[in-house]
């Protein structure tokens, strides 16, 4: 019996999203990832004495966009606050963030969990600056002789999205996170490169006896940056809490960290050791006043979000499953839409996008964003199959040819003479010849050995190098043999 028969989990997530601006939130330094250490820095992001922040308006535009995508109210009046704490990666020893008056509030996200739609509340989303990064001389901070600090990341704009504690299962959490990341990607809020840390999750989780209303004591595990870590962390942490509860122990409200290598959470600090951030309004920035026109201008630029796209693809005739697979990647969905412009069979196109082209790209380590096969080329290929000009089998070799040469499918089919033989007269001649040469097999067939039909089809295909239209071959063979 699983502990989940006894307990119900209650989970809320804080998601930090690095926003996709060219420059930092309070200065003009580049936000590009992976630069030489301490090259994307200036007196302002280094917090040198006397410098002042100037808010990057593009950050506000993206925050409004994210808020609209998450069905939030966009605050007409919000402000920045200082969150005070000491750490070497924090140049000013306070982080400029938003506290009691965030830019986005009271939103929600509908997510599909195991076939059921579930609404997860979004408490708030606020803007803040990222900190720098400690670079240790050894493997860990405790085993290092010295540590340096790379301040390139300092001042990269972040959006912190806080959910309501509305999730009741690991599936709920993962469905919410996947949907959230997809939306941030579609809306262009972030590049969502999880492996580069551009999206990070803090997981708040507690257990309560099934059927009870009050929340149990929660723990917060900080800085997870992959869906698999979230799953493993939740599996570990809920089981740890269940064991403790079963033994009659009290859960300590604390901040924990996820040790990926050991696959466990570890205590970082308890409530008693919790920071007193001494928030107060940032006196160096004016309050942020957003008029409704500003919000409407941003609304007018909203792209189609995953839910709408999935619904549209289903209306084109795709299954819910196929629509989900295609929209899971913004690039794949964009590719599909572009190809649909010159294609009239969504289902067939979807099969080729999800199947052969996906596989081909994956094998070569490429993505739909830089696919050597263009959407128009794939659309042409699908149309050639649909019209019966080439067989599906031939198409498999054609797409490889497009991939490696960049030539259009029509050109390849023509140059290599791959066009399907659908000319009944021509096929009849070939069939007659084969039947004449295999009298014994004809006799077997007529005696009731139907498997002989496959033999004849194979012979025709061999004679036509696979170019014969298989449907027609079947039909003509049956007609001839019935005579």
């Amino acid at each position: 019996m699983s502990f989940l028969d006894k307990y119900e989990m209650v989970c809320g997530v804080e998601t930090h999203v690095e926003m996709a601006t060219k420059t930092k939130i309070f200065c003009g330094c580049s936000t590009e990832f992976g630069g030489e250490q301490n090259t994307h820095v200036c007196p302002v992001c280094l917090g040198l004495p006397g410098v002042l922040p100037v808010l990057n308006k593009e950050v506000v535009n993206l925050a409004i966009k994210a808020g609209l995508a998450l069905n939030c109210d966009i605050a007409e009046f919000s402000k920045f606050d200082r969150k005070n704490y000491f750490y070497p990666d924090l140049t000013k020893n306070y982080q400029t963030s938003q506290y009691d008056l965030p830019i986005c509030k009271n939103g929600w996200l509908d997510v599909m969990v195991n076939g059921t739609m579930k609404r997860i509340g979004i408490t708030r989303a606020h803007m803040e600056e990222d900190a720098g990064k400690l670079v240790h001389s050894g493997d860990t901070i405790t085993t290092s002789n010295s540590s340096g600090v790379d301040y390139n990341r300092t001042g990269v704009p972040l959006l912190e999205i806080v959910s309501e504690p509305d999730m009741r299962s690991i599936d709920d959490v993962l469905a919410y996170l996947e949907e959230l990341v997809q939306i941030m990607d579609y809306a262009g809020i972030s590049d969502c490169k999880l492996e580069q840390g551009s999206v990070r999750f803090d997981i708040n989780v507690s257990l309560r006896l099934k059927g009870t209303e009050t929340f149990g004591t929660r723990t917060e595990t900080k800085n997870l940056n992959s869906f698999s870590s979230v799953r493993r962390c939740l599996e570990y942490e809920t089981e740890r809490q269940a064991d403790a509860l079963d033994e009659g122990l009290e859960i300590i409200q604390e901040t924990r960290t996820w040790d990926e290598g050991r696959g466990m959470t570890l205590s970082l600090r308890s409530k008693e050791e919790a920071h007193d951030y001494r928030y107060f309004p940032e006196p160096d920035l004016m309050p942020l006043v957003i008029d409704r026109d500003w919000v409407e201008r941003i609304r007018a630029t909203m792209p189609e979000l995953p839910t709408a796209k999935r619904e549209r693809l289903q209306a084109l005739g795709l299954s819910a499953y196929d629509a989900g697979v295609i929209t899971a990647s913004k690039d794949m969905a964009f590719f599909f839409d572009q190809a649909m412009a010159t294609c009239d069979d969504a289902k067939l196109l979807a099969n080729w996008v999800m199947g052969d082209l996906s596989a081909l790209l994956k094998t070569n380590g490429r993505t739909f964003a830089d696919s050597p096969v263009s959407p128009a080329q794939l659309a042409s290929l699908v149309m050639l199959i649909k019209k019966g000009d080439i067989s599906g089998k031939i198409a498999k070799s054609v797409i490889e040819e497009i991939y490696s040469t960049g030539k259009d499918p029509e050109t390849i089919v023509k140059e290599k003479g791959l066009a399907q033989i659908s000319d009944a007269g021509e096929l009849e001649k070939i069939i007659d010849g084969i039947l004449a040469a295999n009298e014994k097999s004809v006799a077997d067939y007529k005696a009731g050995k139907e498997a002989a039909l496959g033999f004849f089809v194979g012979q025709v295909m061999k004679a036509t190098k696979g170019q014969a239209n298989p449907g027609m071959v079947n039909k003509l063979l049956k007609e001839k043999l019935a005579q």
Binding site: P43, G47, L48, P49, G50, V51, N84, P88
Partner: protein
């Protein structure tokens, strides 16, 4: 004597080729070497760069180019304004070795105006204090009486101008730090409207209160310097996009019909009756010149001091958190990071700075925020409203700048007693208003300052009233004995 000349007179001498900028600069640098051993206003004298800048001005003169009003004229800056390549210590040991790689906006603007930087001057550490005894280096003396304090925290700026070591200097004013030392040293000191002068590159004490302003020997000089430094700066979000006028156009010798309010609360207990008498005579002067003077009330004045000593320390506790030894300045050598932070701050900061960091940290801490910080901000709003009401009736308000004249060094060992010296200047900072202190008389050979306050961006009105008073009195012509000996 050249050291006593106005900026306008010096400008005419330069363009008339009566003197070169290099000669002028050398004259002042020489006077610094004579006077400063006793005044101790300077933390660093930048003779080489000053002479190079002067030579640039001379080249322009030789080429017949048009010279700006401050071009080729020496000046000093308080050591909390960043100067690229020149140490900026904030009067603190913790920044002893800090050489900024960038200029404050005021530095850039003065450079663009061609002014010659003679050096950086002393201050109370991180601008916290009212006597310049709290410098991490050495105290500065009052040129009128070397046993006395020059006031603070811009004591170096006020003293170097009073001692005629430079014709003008910049100071910063968080709770009176330009006006109070200007009063003690008998010079003109303006705290501009919050947002008129960029704070970019001014090492922050209390961000919502700090403002840079000029210290000069005359009102006209003051307006000329403000012309050079005022105006919107995109690098400072609190800088107001205000089209600044030429402030010298307000220098009209006429206060007829000007309505002056005198707040009752500024003449209460703690005011030296002799200072009250001096200010009353000044009021009489204004009345004789045709101004309409009435007593008025700013009812929440008594709460300004406690509110200030919550807000300013709260902001300073956060602003000074960056001095941790990690990236620049003083670092204590220790085994681990946390101890390094603690020891660096323990050894690098002085008593008064630590006191205010503690106060501010406490006021912002969870559970106390509402009772202290939030309450203080509400008081601040009431004080602003008091002023708004007063300015519905009056063009300017008039008060003593300080309750007493300059006291002797070491006299005020109780910090609270020292805080009281800013009781008339602090409300102006809380409300973000402009205020000016001008010489209004003497008591036993020590200057007395009069403060004039106007509504936001009312600097022109302040200059007009101050100029009229100055033109009809002789206090600003008095010179400290130490300067007389040289001249």
């Amino acid at each position: 004597m050249i050291l006593l000349k106005s900026l306008e007179a010096l400008h005419h001498m330069l363009i008339g080729k009566e003197i070169s900028s290099v000669e002028l600069t050398r004259t002042y640098l020489n006077h610094i070497t004579v006077a400063d051993p006793s005044v101790k206003a300077f933390l660093s004298v930048t003779a080489d760069t000053a002479l190079a800048q002067a030579a640039d001005a001379d080249r322009k003169i030789a080429n017949g180019e048009k010279l700006g009003p401050l071009e080729g004229i020496p000046m000093a800056m308080k050591d909390n304004m960043c100067t690229s390549g020149i140490a900026t210590t904030c009067g603190s040991k913790i920044l002893k070795n800090f050489v900024p790689p960038y200029d404050a906006t005021v530095t850039e603007r003065l450079q663009a105006a061609g002014a010659v930087l003679a050096g950086k001057v002393n201050m109370d550490e991180f601008a916290m204090g009212s006597s310049t005894e709290n410098s991490g280096y050495h105290p500065t003396a009052n040129p009128w009486d070397l046993e006395r304090v020059p006031g603070g925290s811009s004591g170096g700026s006020a003293a170097c101008v009073a001692a005629r070591e430079v014709p003008f200097a910049l100071g910063s004013d968080t709770g009176g730090s330009i006006r109070q030392p200007a009063a003690f040293c008998g010079v003109v000191g303006l705290k501009p409207t919050y947002g008129l002068v960029s704070r970019y590159g001014l090492v922050a004490f209390a961000s919502s209160l700090d403002q840079i302003g000029p210290l000069t020997t005359s009102v006209r000089d003051n307006a000329m310097v403000l012309n050079a430094i005022a105006g919107h700066d995109p690098k400072d979000s609190t800088s107001v996009p205000y089209a600044t006028p030429d402030y010298t156009q307000f220098l009209e010798n006429n206060v007829k019909g000007l309505k002056i309010g005198v707040p009752d609360e500024y003449f209460a207990a703690g005011l030296d009756p002799r200072v009250a008498d001096v200010i009353k005579r000044a009021i009489k002067t204004f009345e004789d010149l045709g101004a309409i003077v009435e007593s008025c009330s700013l009812p929440h004045t008594e709460y300004a001091m406690p509110a200030y000593y919550i807000i300013a320390p709260a902001e300073c506790s956060s602003n000074l958190a960056r001095y941790d030894g990690v990236r620049y300045g003083y670092r204590a050598e220790t085994e681990d990071m946390i101890t390094m932070f603690k020891r660096t701050r323990e050894e690098g900061f002085g008593q008064e700075v630590k006191r205010r960091i503690m106060l501010g940290t406490y006021a912002l801490s969870s559970g106390y925020y509402d009772a202290y910080y939030l309450k203080a901000q509400k008081v601040r709003t009431l004080i602003k409203q008091d002023f708004d009401n007063a300015f519905n009736q009056y063009d300017i308000l008039l008060s003593p700048t300080t309750p007493t004249t300059a006291y002797t060094m070491g006299e005020k060992s109780d910090p609270l007693a020292m805080y009281m010296g800013d009781v008339y200047t602090i409300p102006v900072n809380l409300a973000g208003l402009p205020g000016i202190s001008i010489p209004a008389g003497f008591i036993d050979g020590l200057p007395v300052g009069m403060q004039l306050i106007s509504k936001h961006f009312g600097e022109g009105t302040l200059y007009r009233a101050a100029y009229t008073f100055e033109q009809n009195t002789t206090y600003h012509q008095e010179i400290p004995a130490l300067v007389k000996e040289v001249c």
